[in-house]
Symmetry: C2
Subunit: 159 residues, 2 copies
């Protein structure tokens, strides 16, 4: 399962054992938090949402975007890291292995180069996973790109 | 209770109802995490440590250092924010009110100016709380400075 962490919206996408058509997308979604609530309430919403998803889908591996520090908006990055903290906690509490991949690694794996745009990632994910429609929002496309890359790295050996 | 969040070490300090000598320091400590463990394990240690402290000391208010973005070390700031996220979660799960104060606000309140050094904060906290020794490490001094400032702001009306 790939998770694209964010305080406003956290995308997730679960891919499963390869079918004759290729890797199957088993579930996708976005955990959104309530605007205007204080930070701690939103962090709590992210945690509760992730816990619900993990307990329902029981992924064998979680692939998260790695920490990287070249953010254009430091405050947004710090808020993302709050969400990422509680996602790490939820995974650890369930003994689910975490893999952290950098955005450029994931972009290279799905789109061929490390500086692919959001749109290029969406189109690449659609093609690689043979989806009928473009994965939207981009949080879901990013989560599926993480899941795809992590699954490939793990050699497809996961349940 | 003041909490100075950090992934390596999180300081806390609980101050209580004023005694004839002034505000009383009821408890202080540091929650340290195990070097060399992966991020998610350390985040889990911070969470478990904070939960234990909150359940033992049942503070009426938690005062946390506010997000600020002028960090010299962005990666350290992002790791701190992971710890801060699970601290926010632990507080929210117990319905404890959180107050966020900026470092400069706290320094101004305890040491008279917003750019006080770590040593100046330690000495100010020692004087204000009439401690026999300098509060150490600086995480504890910072946590007590947060608690002192938050308590003053709340008008000393908290349990």
């Amino acid at each position: 399962m790939g998770i694209d962490p964010g305080l406003v919206a956290t995308g997730y996408g679960l891919v499963g054992p390869a079918t004759p058509r290729g890797l199957a997308v088993l579930s996708t979604g976005v955990i959104s938090t309530t605007r205007d609530l204080p930070l701690e309430a939103r962090v709590h919403e992210v945690y509760e949402g992730v816990v619900k998803v993990l307990d329902a889908l029981t992924p064998g591996l979680i692939v998260l975007e790695d920490l990287y520090t070249e953010y254009r908006f430091p405050r947004t990055a710090l808020m993302m890291a709050h969400a990422r903290g509680v996602i790490c906690l939820a995974a650890r509490q369930r003994a689910i292995t975490l893999l952290a991949l950098s955005p450029s690694e994931v972009k290279r794996a799905v789109a061929g180069h490390g500086s692919a745009s959001k749109e290029q990632v969406q189109h690449s994910v659609q093609r690689l996973l043979q989806l009928d429609a473009l994965p939207r929002p981009s949080h879901v496309a990013d989560a599926l790109a993480l899941a795809f890359t992590g699954y490939s790295r793990a050699g497809g050996r996961l349940q």
